[in-house]
C-alpha cells in the first residue's frame, strides 16, 4: 500500500477519534447520549425507511413506465424529492415565531410552484424522448 494512503487513513482515524472525544468530553454542551441517538436514528431512518421507499418507487416505475421514458421520469422524481426534503424545515413552521423576517414566504404555495415546474420540465423531456424515438 502506498504511503499516502496509509497517511490519509491515519489522518482520517485521528479525525474520527478527535470528533468522538469532543462529543464525549463536551459536557452539557454536547450531552453525548443525545447526539448518539440522533446519529443512530438518522442511519435507521435512511436505511429502513428512505431506501425501501425509493426501492419501492423504482420497482413500480420499472413495471409501469415504458423503458424509454423511465430515466426521465426517475430524474424528475429525484429532483422533486430533493426539493421537498430541502423545503421540509421551512414548511415546518418552526423557529422563532416573534421573528417576522424568518421564513417570511408562503412556502406551501412556493413548493407547489417549484414541483409544478419540475413536473412540466419532466413532461417536456419525456415527450421529446418519445417522439425522437431514441433508446434510453
Amino acid at each position: 500500500m502506498k504511503a499516502w494512503r496509509i497517511g490519509l487513513g491515519a489522518i482520517g482515524v485521528a479525525g474520527v477519534l478527535f470528533g468522538l472525544r469532543g462529543l464525549v468530553l463536551g459536557g452539557v454542551a454536547t450531552h453525548w447520549p443525545v447526539p448518539a441517538v440522533w446519529l443512530v436514528a438518522g442511519v435507521l431512518a435512511h436505511d429502513l425507511v428512505l431506501v425501501p421507499l425509493v426501492a419501492a418507487a423504482g420497482w413500480v416505475l420499472a413495471r409501469v413506465v415504458p423503458a424509454r421514458v423511465r430515466p426521465v421520469l426517475r430524474g424528475g422524481l429525484l429532483v422533486a424529492a430533493a426539493v421537498t426534503l430541502v423545503a421540509l424545515p421551512v414548511l415546518s413552521g418552526k423557529g422563532d415565531a416573534t421573528n417576522a423576517s424568518l421564513t417570511p414566504l408562503d412556502y406551501p404555495r412556493n413548493l407547489a410552484i417549484v414541483l409544478g415546474a419540475v413536473a412540466a420540465g419532466t413532461a417536456v423531456l419525456a415527450v421529446v424522448r418519445l417522439s425522437s424515438g431514441r433508446e434510453a
Partner: protein, 383 residues
C-alpha cells in the same frame, strides 16, 4: 499466511440469505462503481468545502485562545465563506442521498462480515453514513433555527464534522485503487446511468437556485424556498434575534453608553449623535447562511476608543444591554477595532435603527459573523 485481521471468518448459513441479502435483490445498474465513484467525488468535494468553511465560521464565532487577531478585510470575507458553507450543505442533500442509494446494496452484502478487517471497515462506513446524514440534516434544521434536541448545536455540529471528514478520508484511503479505476472507465450510455448522474446534477442545481438567493442578492427573487430574503425584515433587512426574543424595550433619556479604558467616560444619545458620524456599506452575514448589505451610519469605534485613551491596536469588548444571551458580549480584536469601517451604528439605510436591529446603538464591523455584531450596546471597554 493470512494475518488475524484478514483471516476469513466462518460464513453464516446460506438459508439466512433472504430479502435484500439475496444476490439478485439489487438488479439496477445504478449501483455500479462508475456511478458511485463519480457521485463520491462530488460529495467528497462538497464535504471538504463544508468542513473548511465550517471551521472558519467556528473559529470566528468561538475564537480559541490562540486566535487573538483576525484580518478585518475583505469586508465580504465571512459573507462569502458562510454563504458557500450553507449553499454547499444544501447541495449535499441530493448528492449524499444519491451516493448512498448507489451503494445501498453494500449494506446487504453477503457474508455480512468476511474478516475482522472487513468488519472494521464496515464500522468506519457506519460512522461515515451516520455523521454525514447528521451534519446535513442538523445544518438544514439550524438554518430555520429549529432545535428539536437538548445539545448546543454549534458544538455538536463541529465535532460530528470531524467524524464525517475523518471517516471520508479513511474511506478514500481504503478505496483509492477502486475509485481511480472506476473514474478512468466512462459511464456506459443506454441503461439510465448517465441519466441518473444528470438527474442528480439537476437536483443540485434546483435546490441551489431556490435557496441561494438568501445570500446572492441577484438571485433573491428565485429564493422561493429559502428561510430568508435579504430584503425582508424591519427596514428591509432580516433579523436574527428580535427585541422581543431578547426582552429589549426602547431606551429612555436615561440611556448612557459607557466607555471604559484608561480615561473612562459616558455619553448620552444626544452626545453620541453630536460626535463625527461616518457611513459604511457593510453586510450582515449570518451563520445561518443569509446575508444582506446595508448602509450604516454612526460613530467610529476607533474614535471612541481613542478618546478613552486606548493604545494603538487595542482590542475592545462590546456589551449589550440584554440581560442574558449567548452572544451578549463580543470581543472586537485589534484589526477590527482599528478599522475605519467599524461603527457603533445609530442609523441603517437612512433611518434610526429599528429596535429589532439594536436601537439605539449596534456594532457593525467588516468580515465578521452576524452574531458578533452586538445589538443594543450599553458598554464598550478597552482591553
Amino acid at each position: 499466511m493470512p494475518s488475524p485481521l484478514t483471516r476469513p471468518l466462518p460464513e453464516p448459513p446460506d438459508s439466512l440469505r433472504q430479502g435484500p441479502l439475496r444476490a439478485d435483490a439489487w438488479p439496477s445498474p445504478l449501483h455500479d462503481r462508475e456511478v458511485t465513484a463519480r457521485l463520491g467525488r462530488w460529495l467528497g468535494i462538497a464535504f471538504a468545502v463544508c468542513f473548511v468553511t465550517g471551521l472558519i465560521s467556528h473559529y470566528l464565532q468561538h475564537p480559541p485562545s490562540w486566535l487573538t487577531s483576525v484580518p478585518s478585510r475583505p469586508v465580504w470575507g465571512y459573507r462569502v465563506s458562510q454563504g458557500i458553507h450553507v449553499a454547499t450543505g444544501i447541495a449535499s442533500v441530493p448528492l449524499l442521498l444519491a451516493k448512498l442509494w448507489a451503494v445501498s446494496p453494500r449494506l446487504w452484502s453477503w457474508p455480512p462480515v468476511r474478516s475482522v478487517l472487513h468488519g472494521l471497515e464496515r464500522l468506519s462506513i457506519l460512522a461515515l453514513v451516520a455523521a454525514a446524514l447528521f451534519e446535513v440534516a442538523s445544518g438544514l434544521l439550524n438554518v430555520v433555527q429549529w432545535y428539536p434536541w437538548s445539545f448546543f448545536f454549534p458544538r455538536v455540529h463541529y465535532y460530528v464534522a470531524y467524524v464525517a471528514i475523518g471517516s471520508i478520508a479513511l474511506h478514500v484511503a481504503v478505496k483509492a485503487p477502486v475509485i481511480a479505476q472506476a473514474l478512468r472507465r466512462p459511464v456506459p450510455d443506454g441503461d439510465g446511468r448517465r441519466g441518473f448522474l444528470l438527474a442528480v446534477g439537476a437536483a443540485v442545481a434546483t435546490v441551489t437556485v431556490v435557496t441561494v438567493g438568501q445570500t446572492l442578492r441577484p438571485l433573491a427573487p428565485l429564493a422561493v424556498l429559502a428561510p430568508r430574503r435579504p430584503d425582508v425584515g424591519p427596514q428591509g433587512l432580516p433579523v436574527n434575534r428580535t427585541a422581543a426574543g431578547a426582552g429589549m424595550r426602547p431606551v429612555t433619556a436615561a440611556y448612557r453608553l459607557a466607555v471604559d479604558g484608561p480615561r473612562p467616560y459616558a455619553l448620552t444619545l444626544a452626545e453620541l449623535r453630536a460626535l463625527p458620524q461616518h457611513e459604511a456599506e457593510l453586510p450582515i452575514a449570518c451563520v445561518e447562511g443569509w446575508s444582506a448589505n446595508a448602509r450604516w451610519r454612526g460613530v467610529r469605534l476607533r474614535d471612541l476608543l481613542d478618546r478613552a485613551g486606548a493604545p494603538a491596536g487595542a482590542a475592545a469588548r462590546v456589551t449589550s444591554m440584554e440581560r442574558d444571551g449567548l452572544y451578549r458580549e463580543s470581543i472586537v480584536d485589534g484589526p477590527h477595532a482599528g478599522d475605519e469601517l467599524t461603527l457603533l451604528a445609530l442609523e441603517v439605510n437612512g433611518e434610526p435603527l429599528a429596535l429589532d436591529h439594536g436601537s439605539p446603538v449596534r456594532l457593525i464591523a467588516p468580515n465578521r459573523p452576524g452574531v458578533l455584531q452586538t445589538k443594543w450596546v450599553g458598554r464598550v471597554e478597552v482591553l
